[in-house]
Amino acid sequence: MYFQGLAKGLSVTLKHFIQSYTGKTGIEDGERITEPSLGGMFTVEYPDEKLPMYPRFRGALMHLRDPETGEANCTACGLCITACPQDCLTVEGDDGKGKDRRAEAFTYGLSECIFCGLCVEACNFEAIEMSSDYELSSSEREIVWDLERLLAQGDKYDRRQSGEDEEK
């Protein structure tokens, strides 16, 4: 029959209009529900709301601390520097030998980084990780983070410290 298709289309839009008020999708108890069958609005109001990042998400690099001493885990072995395809890392160690050696300075050229994660795979001392931070815009042309900044990043984004990621 004619006009059936028109009526069907109208009913779909009206259903979505009503569901945008009655639907379940949205934020509930701090968690975003995205279940299409529940209906409702799917917009994430970005600056006010943020989607949780997955554990494997590769954002900016961060340095981790030893949970007991509170010092950086990095031993300045240089494995990450050889692994980096972009040559965006530099490291300087102190005079210590073997595992006692500690990094004195570390630079991370964020503007050159391609977030491949090879440096993290190369690291033998659980010293660096990719954080879930993706809001990295800056008004400077070259963004270079030093060790202090990287440790601060670690304090903010290390999942082991906040106990969110138990199985790791």
């Binding site: 006009f3 028109l6 009206l14 979505h16 209009f17 945008s20 109001e45």
Partner: protein, 392 residues
């Protein structure tokens, strides 16, 4: 209490009474007429603010989005922000443009849009003027807007603008006919072209007694307003922006405003002709000050219908659109006119007439669907045959 009962009319009476105290009669007429005109224009301008916000919000909701929500409660100040942004834009006149026609077109487009408000009755006694040819006046005005669209398209020195303007004229000429034919049906039943008398004679809204006429009018009206799915003149995917491609800044806003002023005006006409205007089951007699609110609530309903269809239907191809008017809407409207005239002559009594009209309309719809099924099925079979022959 008596003053409050018919608040808006009484304010007007009190004001003109106060003026008579120190003014000659012609002075009172001039001042009240001038103030009334300003109020009517501002209804249109205020409608633009509310309607742009509402359209984005409603269509957003229908597409599972939020719509504007950043400035003000529920994003209500968004149109103001848009207006400020538009005011600061550069005003460009393209090379080779017909300068004066280009400048005058946006001003001319808004004048007929605003003038329609003069005859729309917002309530019992709340109207600009009670012309005895009110509806004819509206039909005449709604065509003038097209001249300014043609001016805009012609003067822009841009082929897309010109194409859009040509389409506008073709569309208007085509859809004016079913529109006027369904208006004639209403006028035939009422026996008057005055908007006020049309409302007063509608005990049963014509939308209920003549659903087919209402449908034809709605389709023709949305084509007349150049709204989706009939937005051929500004079909973004084909014509960039149609006739106002070359307009920027405040001149663009004028076209934009005219569109929305026309939208409210046309929904006001629909409410007056088919939904009983300010009347609502006798409520208008008990609380007359509610009249304009009833009127605007009905307008909001009609406008929601326009938004709803815009959010649902894709644009119709131009030959299909013109074909639909000539092959479907005009015959339906003509048959309707004939049948309504017959019923009006043969049946006595308002309620009985409405009932008979409803039955006639429903029978007509069933026959129409049967014919469409047969004709459409034949066309489809032919097309499928051709496609099969081409492939095989």
């Amino acid at each position: 209490m008596e003053f409050l009962k018919d608040l808006f009319v009484n304010i007007g009476l009190w004001f003109s009474g106060w003026l008579t105290g120190f003014m000659p009669a012609w002075g009172v007429e001039v001042v009240t007429g001038f103030l009334g005109a300003i109020i009517l224009v501002f209804i249109g301008l205020f409608a633009v603010l509310i309607l742009t916000w509402g359209e984005r919000k409603v269509i957003g909701r229908m597409q599972d989005r939020i719509g504007p929500n950043r400035w003000g409660p529920y994003g209500l100040f968004q149109p103001i922000a848009d207006g400020i942004k538009m005011l600061t834009k550069e005003d460009i006149i393209p090379t080779g443009a017909d300068r004066w026609v280009h400048l005058v077109a946006p001003i001319l487009v808004i004048i007929p849009a605003v003038l329609i408000y003069a005859v729309i009755p917002f309530g019992d006694g709340l109207r600009g003027a009670d012309l005895n040819i009110g509806i004819l006046y509206i039909v005449a005005l709604s065509t003038i807007g097209t001249i300014s669209i043609l001016m805009a398209g012609w003067s822009s020195n841009n082929k897309y603008s010109l194409l859009g303007a040509f389409r506008a004229v073709a569309q208007l000429i085509t859809y004016e006919i079913p529109l006027v034919l369904s208006i004639i049906t209403v006028v035939l039943l009422t026996g008057s072209m005055s908007m006020v008398e049309i409302v007063e004679n509608q005990t049963v809204p014509y939308m209920v007694s003549m659903p087919l006429v209402f449908l034809v009018f709605m389709v023709a009206a949305s084509a007349e307003l150049y709204r989706a799915p009939f937005d051929m003149i500004e079909a973004d995917s084909e014509l960039i922006a149609g006739y106002f491609t070359e307009y920027s800044g405040m001149k663009f806003v004028m076209f934009f405003m005219a569109e929305y002023i026309n939208l409210l005006a046309m929904s006001g006409v629909i409410v007056t002709l088919f939904m009983g205007g300010w009347r609502f089951f006798g409520l208008e007699e008990i609380l007359p000050f509610l009249n304009p609110f009833i009127f605007f609530a009905k307008c909001a309903f009609v406008i929601f219908l326009f938004w709803w269809t815009r959010a649902t239907f894709p644009r119709i191809r131009i030959d299909h659109m013109l074909g639909m008017a000539w092959k479907a809407l005009v015959p339906i409207a003509l048959v309707n006119l004939l049948l309504v005239g017959l019923v009006d002559k043969l049946v006595e009594g308002t309620l009985l007439t409405s009932g008979v009209l409803l039955i006639v309309n429903i029978i007509e719809m069933v026959i129409l669907l049967a014919i469409l099924d047969k004709v459409g099925g034949k066309t489809r079979a032919k097309t499928m045959e051709r496609v099969a022959a081409q492939q095989g």
